[in-house]
């Protein structure tokens, strides 16, 4: 019985992976991707009866590798976009089709409850992004619906999580055109405005922008209330202390906590890695206090003997 079940599941698995292979891993034979995964596309012009080759609008070129690693990899293009796109030239009115927002699929669904989409939405509405761009600041402005991967939840590599998260911010904050589209003015030069931050490059590599630029909310994995720059964290001790805010943000993830718990020796040594010096290890902190007290006790006892034996 068990064997049959395993065979059935394996068959289903192979069948589904085969379907994916057809759609995203073999873009040349996909109705949409044969054009939209390339820099150029060709078609037969029925009016002039000629073969035409043109450049693809770079914003409409899709990264099929990233799609097949993303959370929506099992969907095909026409699951979200109109099936009328399969005809070329595409009708101009298709540009007006209303597309589903994240909450249209994920909102109010028990199976997605742990991601707290509604709460995230409420946080976004308080953020500086919403203030500037209103409802048009959709989730997909940061989370590319085609390629999004839940790196923070799944990776056990802090640097990978930081890199992925910061690239979400930089996709606009380091892009003149995209930044101006939303804000209406030029983007500030990030290296210059963060001039005050010691070891800037290391900070940018090891912590996410949102560590300082959001309000930490305990009930959410990632706070989505992006604050204006006047409210950003600027005090070193907010992170570099035993009560580091990183514990409530970057190190909140189960996957990262587990890694430090499984680290054997590292549990003895590192409990709060962002405290400066030996005090980041509770064991060494206790040891140093004991040695110091023993030294003082030794000196006091010696002094007493010196006075008594004078």
């Amino acid at each position: 019985m068990n064997y049959r079940l395993i065979i059935l599941i394996s068959l289903l698995f192979f069948a589904s992976s085969h379907l994916n292979a057809q759609s995203y891993q073999d873009p040349q034979h996909h109705a949409c991707l044969k054009c939209h995964s390339n820099q150029s596309y060709s078609f037969h012009n029925d009016v002039t009866d000629k073969e035409v080759k043109r450049l693809m609008n770079p914003y409409y070129v899709l990264d099929t590798f990233a799609i097949s690693a993303g959370v929506h990899k099992s969907f095909d293009c026409t699951d979200c976009h109109s099936s009328e796109y399969e005809v070329y030239p595409h009708q101009a009115t298709l540009k007006l089709e209303p597309l589903s927002s994240c909450l249209d699929c994920h909102g109010g669904d028990e199976s997605y409850a742990k991601y707290k989409f509604e709460e995230i939405q409420a946080e976004v509405e308080k953020s500086v992004h919403h203030k500037v761009y209103g409802e048009n600041f959709s989730c997909s402005k940061c989370h590319n619906q085609h390629t999004y991967a839940a790196t923070a939840r799944n990776s056990d590599n802090v640097l990978e999580i930081v890199d992925y998260s910061n690239k979400l911010c930089l996709s606009c904050h380091n892009d003149m055109k995209k930044y101006k589209l939303i804000s209406g003015h030029n983007n500030p030069k990030l290296v210059e405005v963060h001039d005050w931050l010691p070891n800037q490059a290391l900070h940018f590599q090891h912590v996410r922008c949102i560590e300082c630029h959001t309000e930490v909310v305990d009930s959410l994995m990632v706070s989505h209330n992006i604050l204006s720059k006047d409210h950003a964290v600027k005090k070193c001790v907010e992170c570099h202390s035993a009560d580091s805010r990183l514990k409530a943000s970057l190190y909140k993830y189960e996957n990262l906590r587990k890694r430090s718990e499984n680290g054997g020796l590292s549990t003895v040594l590192t409990n709060s890695s962002y405290v400066i010096g030996t005090h980041q290890s509770p064991f060494l902190k206790l040891l140093s206090i004991l040695i110091f007290l023993a030294t003082l006790a030794g000196i006091i006892i010696h002094s007493i003997f010196r006075i008594l034996k004078k």
């Binding site: 010691p198 290391l202 590292s266 010096g277 030996t278 290890s281 030294t295 010196r306």
Partner: protein, 205 residues
């Protein structure tokens, strides 16, 4: 020999170095402890403490170069040479004197003279502190000043983390040394005698 015989133990350059080094080390210990406990007051902010620690670190480093070169080119260096003969026995003898002998009317086993500025126990501590701990704390300190030069990973640990642990552990060792150094200095002809010597340069035997 007369009881009031005195030796010019501490030349001027050494006294100046010792004074600057002492001030620097005290600033480093105070700011170091303050950073570890992430203290932040409205008067002295964390970033000011970091700046003070960095400046004091550079001052102590420059001082160390003076100390190191001074001991190479002057005769003062000879007092730091440890002989293999009695390497273990002599310091133990001195430790026994401090913990037992001096309370039972015994004479110091290694009286100081022109040839011997430090007793064997003192010498070992000075060598360990000045030729191991201080260079170690300077090297790790400069590494932390330019963290981009530190190796990213040491086995499973971040290189910066390991360097920071070494730096503060050595710093702690030097702090303990300082406490003991200040106390033992009170064991002299009179409790204040040795403190006076390091200012005037003259040591009364």
């Amino acid at each position: 020999m007369a009881a009031t015989e005195k030796i010019y133990f501490y030349p001027l350059w050494l006294r100046i170095w010792h004074g600057i080094n002492a001030l620097g080390i005290i600033v480093l210990i105070v700011t170091g402890i303050s950073m570890q406990s992430s203290m932040e007051t409205s008067v002295i902010g964390f970033s000011l403490v970091v700046k003070l620690h960095n400046i004091a670190g550079v001052v102590v480093t420059l001082g160390y170069i003076v100390f190191f070169v001074g001991n190479l080119v002057t005769s003062n260096g000879k007092y730091y040479l440890i002989k293999i003969k009695g390497f273990i026995k002599q310091p133990i003898k001195q430790a026994l004197y401090y913990s037992w002998g001096m309370f039972h009317g015994m004479k110091a086993p290694f009286p100081l003279s022109e040839k011997r500025k430090f007793n064997p126990l003192q010498k070992i501590f000075y060598v360990v502190v000045m030729y191991l701990a201080v260079p170690g704390v300077i090297i790790t300190g400069f590494a932390l000043l330019f963290p981009e030069i530190i190796i990213e990973k040491v086995y499973d640990f971040s290189g910066v983390f390991v360097t920071a642990i070494f730096h503060s552990a050595l710093g702690f060792f030097i702090s303990i040394f300082l406490v003991i150094h200040l106390y033992i200095a009170s064991i002299g002809k009179s409790p204040l005698e040795n403190y006076k010597s390091i200012i005037t340069g003259w040591h009364h035997i």
